[in-house]
């Protein structure tokens, strides 16, 4: 009795650790981040008809692309935060069995975002705006349905 009582906390720790490992078994979490997010607070200083490209670059850096459109030059800032998670239910059986069928659930959310600024021929801001903003998704969300 005394032996079991003495060992009980460590047994509980081992069982708890094994349970956590079992829950995490076969899990893969991936994340890829491109560039820094441009927030609405960062671009509050922009005044249409006044702010120039150089002032914009001083505040939020050089754009990732400058291209010409029918309305004038457009400066584009890109960023994205790609989250992907998956769980492979064959991970544990594969440790013990010579063959285990693959059963994987995986979800990937690629969220490319843009901040666009249109300039007049004097390189003064004519208009600006963000691309469709996405809501924050959890990093671990492997249910694909």
């Amino acid at each position: 009795m005394t032996d079991v009582a003495v060992r009980f906390p460590s047994i509980r720790l081992i069982v708890g650790t094994l349970c956590i490992l079992l829950l995490c078994a076969g899990c893969t979490v991936r994340r890829a981040v491109l560039n820094d997010v441009v927030t609405t607070e960062q671009v509050n200083f922009i005044r249409v008809g006044e702010t120039t490209l150089v002032e914009l670059a001083d505040h939020i850096g050089a754009p990732d692309e400058v291209t010409e459109s029918d309305f004038g030059f457009v400066a584009l800032y890109y960023w994205s935060d790609t989250k992907s998670a998956g769980v492979d239910f064959g991970a544990i059986p594969r440790l013990f069995l010579p063959y285990a069928p693959t059963m994987t659930l995986n979800k990937t959310g690629v969220t490319p975002e843009q901040f666009q600024v249109v300039f007049d021929p004097q390189w003064t801001v004519r208009a600006y705006g963000f691309s469709r903003r996405t809501t924050d998704e959890p990093v671990v969300w492997f249910w694909p349905f």
Partner: protein, 130 residues
């Protein structure tokens, strides 16, 4: 002898155990932009040919309003990963540097816009949080 043999063996085994399953990847696109070369561009005097001799041919040329813009870029990506038997974490962080040189109709540089982000690229493994 620096280490007694058993201790050296233990250290090697520990190092192998601690780093097993670790993957470290680095990828770049283009060449890093040299800040000395960028600061050598003088607005109103430096010509297109001088810019090319200082920095090289541009990665992109944007044309409009009879003017040209040279665009130079450099991308730096760092990706650590931990691939254990049952649990995998993979993270990638990519940032870019961009340089724009605006030329007037006579091919003289009239504006230089440069932004450097790659200095903040990190080997970060933990995929959670910001």
């Amino acid at each position: 002898m620096l280490f007694p043999k058993p201790l050296a063996g233990i250290i090697i085994v520990l190092a192998l155990v601690l780093t097993q399953g670790c993957v470290v990847t680095r990828g770049t696109i283009g060449e890093p932009l040299q800040e000395e070369a960028i600061s050598a561009i003088k607005k109103g005097t430096t010509t297109m040919a001088e810019v090319v001799s200082l920095i090289g041919a541009p990665d992109r040329i944007v044309k409009g309003n009879d003017r040209e813009i040279f665009h130079y870029y450099y991308y730096d990506g760092k990706s650590p990963a931990m691939l254990l038997l049952l649990l995998n974490f993979i993270r990638m962080d990519i940032k870019s540097d961009n340089l724009y040189v605006f030329f007037n109709r006579n091919g003289i540089a009239e504006e230089v816009v440069y932004g450097k982000r790659t200095g903040r690229t990190q080997f970060r493994l933990w995929p959670f949080g910001d």
